[in-house]
Subunit: 338 residues, 2 copies
């Protein structure tokens, strides 16, 4: 019988654990709070919760523990992935140089790997989501959340780069000298197409223009609440509001330009759009494809398929299990406790 | 004794052939005209010249033919690299779907691979140039010529992408809605930092400004010849002319932004600057590094080393031999005649 894999997704809010079979099918999953107050987020306490969640999910899966071959841990923040160490994390301020992989592996007596969140989610979609049964060997994924993340799979493996910073697509400079980004650069992609920043741009524009406040249906929300969200923009754009639609199209155009740059850089078989903005579904996809076709070169037809993510919030857990399977198959799992 | 490798560089002007040892040392090389008039450039005639050049260079190398393990061919234009076919090439208008690899391999009775020019040159620098003895496993190279090309080596192998279009960095869109490019896109990198286009931009600006014509030392050349070149800009920038320096710095800044984007995308150990613009040497490198440091994010210090190319015009022949060695070592050489 082929083995099973454990995926652990360490988030700032929840720890998720799941068991998958060797095709990426999620057998069972569990989600527990990471911690309820800052002192609860000390590394030892959180690691104990991760181990408990893992034991619980294996227990309820009906799978013998000896049939689980490896575990993958997905974590946010800056890490040394090959060493399995979390260097620091904005969501877990007490964590400094925590040997997460070794501690969880010892606690579970199971070898494992550490992967960053966007890479693991990309691997999940490659293995068991948008890329499933497509005979792909590469894929690029955009995670369109508050910020914009990226993950790259090439020749069936996650591309980490030489200092674990590959596929940081949200900080690709797309407008030289453009808007200042929290990272210290100017003109980063995420300032132009993430829900949060595209929303902020639209709020500023509407606030500055009495005419837009009067003519756009977003004006009413702004008048009531003093602001509006990216979700409001999407909803009003769908409903046909001109200003909302322009704001939406602008974000989609920047995303399309980023897709073009990804194609010229790595020429992938597939680009997957994931994260909050991708919940707009076909409305997003159609708009991105329209701008892509307009802006793409005349030299060749595009060969990259652009698709929506399929796994939703499970991409992380499934992907974490997937990178564990990949390391197991390649006999590249570090020893337990290392 | 370790085997030797043959590299063939098919250019629009010259066919170059070289033999290297298994460390990338060029033992001997030869260069012959590709053809003197358009009808001379028919595929059969050029292929005969390539085979003759290969036989000649092996003959003069003092190496037994049986000690040459494989050959690599580097060619410009659009190709199906895995099939060894040149689909079309701007420099060789008579070439349509030419099975170049199979024909040369049969003519020499030597198995081989076909690689595109920028990829092969990048592999050459990785193997035997700027990356030599650096224990790298990845590298990105910019070829700064009339246009801007790119080549990527990752985990010791050329990254071709899924339709042989990876690392087309010159067509990364760096200015949305920017200057129209010959490729049909707007705002491509090569319109902002290649010698040719940076030169054209400067000529236009100077032509439009009586003040610049009067105050810049380039004004005199412009008055005499009606134009000036990228080489003139470099020379006058070095000599301290303000306008020439601004034009130079602008091109270097765009190149630095592209380097930042390469770092965020693939996080390489090394970026190599090659091609005509790189002949400016330290003057180029210092300026690119200055702009890189100014524009790079505040999150982490850069870990990518930016270096000048070392192999000059030999990068292609050496790289072609290198990709042959790589395929030989991986037992991935196609059969002769396939």
């Amino acid at each position: 019988m082929p083995p099973f894999y454990l995926g652990l997704d360490l988030g700032g809010t929840n720890v998720k654990a799941g068991v998958t079979d060797d095709t990426g099918r999620l057998i069972t999953k569990v989600s527990v709070p990471t911690g309820s107050k800052p002192s609860d987020l000390a590394p030892g306490l959180v690691i104990d919760r991760m181990i408990a969640a893992a034991n619980q999910v294996i227990g309820t899966s009906g799978i013998a523990r000896s049939d689980v071959a490896a575990m993958g841990i997905l974590a946010p923040g800056q890490a040394s992935l090959s060493k399995g160490v979390i260097i620091r994390s904005a969501n877990l301020p007490l964590w400094k140089n925590v040997h997460l992989r070794a501690k969880v592996a010892r606690g579970l007596n199971l070898p494992g790997v550490l992967e960053n969140d966007a890479n693991a989610a990309a691997y999940g979609e490659y293995w068991a989501g948008a890329g499933k049964n497509k005979k792909l060997d590469n894929l690029f994924m955009f995670t369109l959340g508050t910020g914009v993340g990226g993950g790259l799979v090439y020749e069936g493996r996650v591309v980490r780069g030489s200092s674990d910073f590959a596929a940081e697509i949200g900080h690709m400079i797309i407008v030289p000298g453009g808007e200042p980004c929290g990272c210290g650069q100017h003109g980063c992609l995420e300032r132009y197409c993430s829900g949060r920043y595209a929303g902020e741009r639209a709020v500023k524009r509407l606030a500055a223009s009495p005419k837009i406040r009067r003519t756009s249906s977003l004006g009413k929300i702004f008048k009531e609440k003093g602001t509006f969200t990216a979700a409001d923009i999407t909803q009003h754009a769908r409903a046909g509001d001109k200003f909302a639609r322009e704001s939406w199209e602008e974000a989609c155009r920047y995303l399309a330009l980023a897709c073009i740059n990804v194609c010229h850089f790595i020429d992938p078989q597939m680009i997957v759009l994931a994260g909050g903005m991708s919940l707009a579904g076909k409305f997003l996809l159609d708009s991105v494809l329209k701008h892509f076709d307009r802006e793409w070169w005349k030299m060749t037809r595009p060969t990259t398929k652009i698709s929506l993510a399929r796994l939703g919030n499970d991409a992380g857990v499934i992907g974490a299990a997937g990178v564990a399977k990949d390391a197991f198959d390649r006999k590249a799992l570090p020893q337990i406790g290392r």
